[in-house]
């Protein structure tokens, strides 16, 4: 199942934004899960992660329509996608983010 959402532009760099609330075990787990996922399935240097702590900046929740914590927003490639949860279920996260054949092709 191929999708038109290919990281073809911006030199194929994914822009991901992770919303968390506070520096706690849950936030850290989500960040760790995301980094592992990116490293293994997108590849070093091909992604950028921005972590937003809503405890510190609650006003940022509105722009990306954040409801659940943690929420991962895939800004690039478009279209925008949202995955809620701590990403502990890697299979579903990969599906949800459309990390597909392109990434599986080379290396690893």
């Amino acid at each position: 199942m191929t999708s038109d959402a290919m990281p073809s532009d911006q030199n194929g760099v994914w822009t991901l934004r992770l919303y968390v609330a506070g520096e706690n075990q849950k936030s850290r787990a989500a960040v760790a899960n995301l980094e592992r996922l990116c490293r293994t399935h997108i590849g070093e240097g091909r992604y950028e992660i921005e972590i937003i702590d809503l405890m510190k900046n609650p006003q940022l929740a509105k722009a990306d329509q954040i409801l659940a914590i943690p929420t991962l927003v895939r800004k690039i490639p478009e279209p925008m996608k949202r995955v809620i949860g701590d990403l502990s279920d890697a299979e579903r996260a990969i599906l949800a983010l459309d990390i597909q054949e392109l990434e599986r092709g080379p290396a690893l």
């Binding site: 329509q65 659940a68 914590i69 929420t71 579903r92």
Partner: protein, 572 residues
């Protein structure tokens, strides 16, 4: 088990009273004795289009404008722009309130197709957003519309339910008076059982359509720690937002007045103990079509306005223009009263709304215009907007309401041709104070009107049938002729009156003759008395004279006897 001593020993005044947050929704605060529970969460449920969003918004807007309590509106269904547009027609300036920092609007979009789940999560984002909004405006009130949208956007109901439970606890901790709206479910109050979480106050809104006529109703399903009305109350949504009609049928505590007011027809006042109706009483005028019910109503309204009072005329049959024109033809100028602002016409087709909506509108108009008298012409037409039983109940409620307001009300009711004259369509005759019956009397090729007072509580009223005559100077009541052939009216009455006039002249002449005869006889008698007295006086004088002579003779005799004795030398 508590003994009676124990329970009576409780000092009621010392018990904490549940604090209320007034909703600012007319009528609602009366039903709930003050509004929503302060600092707690209430649930409003109802089907789509029942008025939930508006209820919530009005609570917020009135909170800001009337009670200086800033508010937060969390919208799951509409965007801020849509909301502001939708309620602008109600005079709610959401944008202005937002700009002045009194209101925070936040649209939360939940789109299933955009959300994927992977692993554990919670709804902290929602909490933070609500928390931020509360902080920004210093909110005392929060409305979340419609929270259940979350069930459509999230898969993990286990997480969702525990988060909702946490949300309700959290709202309570924030000390805000909150309203959550929810869709009505099949056989349950809400589709996802939110009523389980909200235990303080649950309001059900209902929008029923029966026989193509819609009626909105409100019911307080539950209100912990507070007394509340348990009935279904009709409510309106109009250009002023929501108005609930809080009337109950248990209104027998209204004050009564001994003041009397004119019916507008002097002769009718005379029939009603000489003074007219009691102020604050309810008058029913029933009768067949064309019997003159509206004319009596117009007189009543005219008299009230002429006294400088205000009157609302609810017309369910004719248009105001038609009524004014028709009444002008009998010399009643309602238009000038209307122009002077003393008379207000409210005309609508009975089928335009449901019965309760009608009554809610009437309720509202009465509250706004504050009339002294009200005319409902005709009340019976309202039945076509509901069934008989409902109509009866609602009319009773209306009458109770009018009485508590001290408003004198005149209602007309059409009696069908085949019905008993004393039957009214809605069987309200038992609760009215004065009942006038106007009926057509058909005889000798004519149809005339007869009127009588069937009952009038608390006054000595006439039991006579009067002929009801409508002239270019208005309604007048004249005596009818009651003869061996029954009641005569119209030209038969006129003829009879003529006959009676002739007979009267004859009778008068006869009386005059008899009086002359009597006078003559008296004079004769006096003459005779005079003659007798003269004779008696003559006789009396004669007898007196004789008596005097006799006495003189006696004296003489005694004297003579003494002289003789002395002469004879009698010793004693």
């Amino acid at each position: 088990m508590q003994g009676p001593e124990q329970s009576s020993g409780v000092d009621r005044a010392a018990l904490p009273v549940l604090e209320k947050a007034p909703s600012g929704i007319p009528g609602f605060d009366e039903i709930t004795h003050g509004g929503f529970p302060f600092g707690r969460t209430s649930l409003i449920c109802g089907a789509a289009g029942a008025g939930k969003t508006l209820f919530g918004l009005q609570f917020l807007v009135r909170g800001i404008t009337d009670y200086d309590e800033p508010g937060v509106f969390i919208a799951f269904e509409e965007t801020e722009e849509d909301l502001a547009q939708n309620v602008a027609s109600l005079g709610f300036d959401l944008k202005g309130l937002v700009d002045s920092g009194k209101l925070a609007l936040d649209h939360i979009r939940v789109e299933r197709s955009e959300i994927e789940e992977s692993g554990e999560y919670n709804l902290e984002g929602l909490f933070l957003r609500i928390g931020l909004a509360i902080q920004t405006v210093g909110a005392k009130r929060v409305v979340i519309d419609t929270l259940e949208t979350l069930f459509g956007g999230l898969n993990d109901y286990g997480i969702l339910r525990s988060e909702l439970r946490r949300l309700f606890r959290w709202l309570k901790d924030q000390g805000v008076s909150a309203i959550i709206t929810a869709e009505r479910g099949e056989g349950t109050l809400t589709r996802h059982g939110l009523e389980e979480y909200v235990s303080d106050c649950v309001i059900l809104l209902d929008h029923r359509v029966s026989e193509q006529i819609s009626t909105r109703r409100l019911r307080v399903v539950k209100y912990r720690g507070s007394v509340h009305g348990t009935n279904e109350y009709p409510f309106l949504i109009d250009e002023d937002g929501i108005t609930v009609m809080p009337i109950t049928s248990a209104g027998l505590e209204h004050g009564v007045s001994a003041e009397r007011i004119s019916s507008g027809v002097p002769r009718l006042d005379a029939m009603l103990g000489g003074e007219g109706y009691y102020r604050g009483s309810t008058i029913l005028v029933s009768g067949t079509a064309g019997a003159g019910k509206s004319s009596l109503s117009a007189h009543f309204a005219d008299a009230a306005c002429a006294r400088g009072e205000r009157c609302v005329y609810f017309a369910f049959e004719e248009s105001p223009e038609q009524i004014k024109r028709n009444m002008r033809s009998i010399g009643i100028d309602l238009a000038s009263h209307e122009a002077a602002g003393r008379l207000k016409f409210m005309a609508s087709r009975p089928t335009a709304h449901g019965l309760e909506t009608h009554l809610a509108i009437m309720h509202k108009v009465i509250r706004e215009f504050q009339p002294h008298v009200v005319v409902v012409d005709p009340i019976g037409n309202l039945i076509s907007a509901g069934n008989q039983e409902e109509a009866h109940l609602m009319v009773v409620r209306l009458i109770d309401f009018l009485k508590t307001q001290g408003i004198t009300a005149m209602m007309t009711s059409l009696t069908g041709g085949g019905m008993a004259q004393e039957a009214t369509e809605i069987a309200i005759s038992s609760i009215v104070d004065t009942w006038l019956l106007v009926k057509s009397i058909e005889a000798s090729g004519e149809r005339n009107r007869g009127m009588y007072v069937l009952k009038s509580r608390g006054m000595n009223h006439s039991n006579q049938v009067r002929e009801f005559v409508i002239t270019s100077e208005g309604v007048d009541l004249v005596d009818v002729y009651i003869g061996p052939e029954g009641v005569l009216t119209g030209s038969a009455r006129a003829q009879q009156e003529h006959k009676e006039r002739a007979a009267k002249v004859q009778r008068e002449q006869e009386i005059e003759r008899k009086q002359r005869e009597l006078e003559r006889k008296r004079r004769q008698m006096e003459h005779e008395i005079e003659a007798l007295r003269a004779a008696f006086e003559a006789e009396e004088a004669e007898i007196q004279r004789v008596i005097e002579q006799e006495q003189e003779a006696e004296e003489q005799l005694l004297q003579n006897r003494g002289v003789m004795a002395r002469r004879r030398g009698v010793d004693q």
